[in-house]
């Protein structure tokens, strides 16, 4: 089958690889109908995340049709079922899964020892996201083996386009969890750094959850215009001072809720700390660029909440924990507990409360995936979200 394969830093290729097969009685195989490139895939593309090996198949936003089911998964799946696959592989049985903390499932990371060393304790296995999280082949491919498939799936009805459902796999519940864990009150101002796909979903989630005011911070005109369409007030950090503007919009008190939808590759260009981060990162003395974290710790209203869906990978410098402690801020973060939210979110899609396909700007055949990684990473061609379709001819833009 065809699959997008990681070969090294910024080197992704569409290769022929062996078809997946059932390896365990709880497995299922899906024929992929749509998959997407996630912003967190770019951390692998740029090789910021450790634990990739040449030959790894990329991708963790995937949906398709069940074509083969292991005997132990037949109680919940059958051939022909239409499923979205959450990016977190879950057993559904361990203590964390029973608590709804699916992203830290204790069972599914088959490289638990590595994760224990890196993070102290293991987290869930993930599709196509380094050997630290199990080294499972990803879903930017024609077929995908789904381990623990009896638990690791979201059944979706026929008759609705893939585009409306695909993002239940990751970015929609990620944006939703980012907003939910802020415990948004009707009087709250919610400031969201980053208007990429997760940022856009976070903006819509904060609006649905009833924030008084949603403020979106980015520098790219297309992304800011999409944020504005979703009901956000825009701040272009290349044209305005973010801290001053946020204070101005909140009567000098700062936003109650701050969300980092950027993560480890912040692109702030004018600040001293961002130059410091760039220099240290270039010399391999720092893994991440935490400009957004610093800024939101500084500007957040005392007793406020910081929500961090943005991915961080390693060791960060100059974090103003003094501001966090003295202002009594609460930090909530983590990979998304996808299945905790998807029943509710699927209903919201079916009820037309939200149509997540708004974020798609490029639809391309799987074979053009490697080119689209660069287009997406470099924000060329107005690119915000790329959907790839195995077997598709030609491409659609914006």
């Amino acid at each position: 089958m065809k699959a997008l394969v990681w070969h090294g830093t910024t080197d992704i290729r569409c290769d022929s690889v062996p078809d997946p097969s059932i390896e365990h009685e709880r497995d299922a195989i899906i024929k992929v109908t749509s998959c997407a490139i996630c912003g967190s895939d770019l951390h692998l593309y740029d090789h910021f995340m450790p634990g990739m090996k040449s030959g790894d198949v990329m991708g963790h936003e995937t949906m398709g049709e069940i074509v083969e089911v292991g005997p132990a998964a037949r109680k919940s799946l059958k051939v022909g079922d239409r499923v979205v696959i959450p990016f977190t592989i879950i057993c559904g049985e361990c203590e964390q899964c029973r608590r709804g903390n699916f992203s830290v499932c204790e069972t599914t990371n088959r490289n638990k020892d590595l994760a224990d060393k890196a993070f102290g304790h293991t987290t869930a296995g993930l599709f196509g996201y380094t050997h630290l999280t199990g080294g499972y082949p990803g879903g930017q491919a024609e077929y995908l083996r789904v381990p623990f498939a009896d638990a690791t799936h979201i059944k979706v009805p026929d008759g609705i386009p893939d585009e409306k459902l695909l993002f239940l796999s990751d970015i929609f519940p990620t944006g939703w969890q980012a907003a939910v864990q802020c415990d948004i009150q009707p009087t709250d101002t919610v400031a969201i750094w980053g208007c990429g796909p997760v940022g856009q979903m976070t903006i819509r989630s904060a609006v649905l959850l009833g924030a008084r005011q949603v403020i979106a911070i980015d520098r790219l005109p297309e992304r800011l215009s999409m944020a504005k369409a979703g009901g956000a007030i825009m701040i272009n950090f290349e044209e305005e001072n973010v801290v001053e503007r946020l204070n101005e919009l909140t009567g000098g008190k700062g936003p109650e809720k701050c969300i980092d939808a950027v993560g480890l590759e912040a692109h702030a260009t004018g600040s001293v700390d961002s130059m410091y981060d760039r220099a240290k990162q270039a010399m391999m003395l720092e893994t991440d660029r935490p400009h957004v974290l610093r800024e939101m710790m500084y500007v957040c209203r005392p007793a406020g909440i910081l929500s961090i869906p943005g991915v961080y990978g390693g060791l960060l410098d100059k974090i103003p924990l003094g501001a966090v402690m003295n202002k009594g801020l609460t930090i909530r973060t983590g990979q998304t507990h996808v299945n905790r939210w998807t029943d509710d979110l699927l209903n919201r899609v079916l009820e037309n409360q939200i149509d997540p396909s708004f974020v798609i700007t490029h639809t391309e055949p799987l074979e053009r995936g490697p080119e689209m990684y660069k287009t997406f990473r470099d924000k060329q061609d107005g690119c915000i979200k790329v959907v790839l379709k195995p077997g598709m001819n030609g491409g659609l833009h914006a």
């Binding site: 910021f48 009833g210 297309e222 909530r332 939200i354």
Partner: protein, 185 residues
């Protein structure tokens, strides 16, 4: 709105011609650096300068470090700019070290021409990499109608206000804002 649709990746690849050029320059840096470290005398003779073997060895170390950085970095652009700065140092070194005999002058002229050509290649590569990074001020696509709310923004605002926030993501009751009368503010 601009009618510009720019993508720079090579067909079927996740890298552009500038990415490829940067890798080539990385290997070139390594090769040149090793030559300067191992045979500084020969390099000095080829450039028509004398007595600069120690300087050339230093430059060799610089080239090797730069080459490793280019090949190992996800973003080679700053290191290509480092090469440009190195090129200028090389040019200044050769220009100030030119000997008076005709043979050396000829070699120095050829070396300066070569260095100028390499500098131009480095500049083209660094500028190309920089231009690919989407440093635009104007939109090339119009997404201002993409609310994502089929029933409109007004209907969406607060539509999920009745969502029950899970206990583990709620601010604990005891930590919620309160008024002096004992109730929640």
């Amino acid at each position: 709105m601009h009618d510009v649709v720019r993508r720079s990746a090579l067909p079927g690849r996740s890298q552009s011609s500038h990415d490829k050029m940067a890798r080539g320059l990385g290997y070139f840096s390594l090769a040149l650096g090793i030559a300067e470290l191992v045979a500084p005398g020969a390099i000095c003779r080829a450039a028509g300068v004398k007595g600069l073997e120690t300087v050339v060895r230093g430059y060799g170390a610089r080239e090797i470090a730069t080459g490793i950085a280019i090949l190992g970095s996800h973003d080679p652009e700053p290191w290509i700019w480092t090469r440009v700065a190195g090129d200028l140092a090389d040019i200044a070194t050769v220009a100030t070290g030119v000997q008076q005999d005709n043979q050396s002058k000829g070699r120095s002229t050829l070396a300066l021409a070569t260095l100028a050509a390499v500098t131009l290649i480095d500049l083209a590569c660094a500028n190309g990499l920089n231009a690919e990074k989407g440093n635009r001020k104007t939109a090339i696509r119009d997404y201002s109608r993409r609310s994502g709310f089929p029933k409109g923004l007004q209907a969406a605002s607060g539509a999920a206000r009745d969502f029950q926030i899970p206990d583990d993501m709620r601010t604990p009751e005891l930590l919620r804002p309160w008024d002096r009368g004992g109730g929640k503010a």
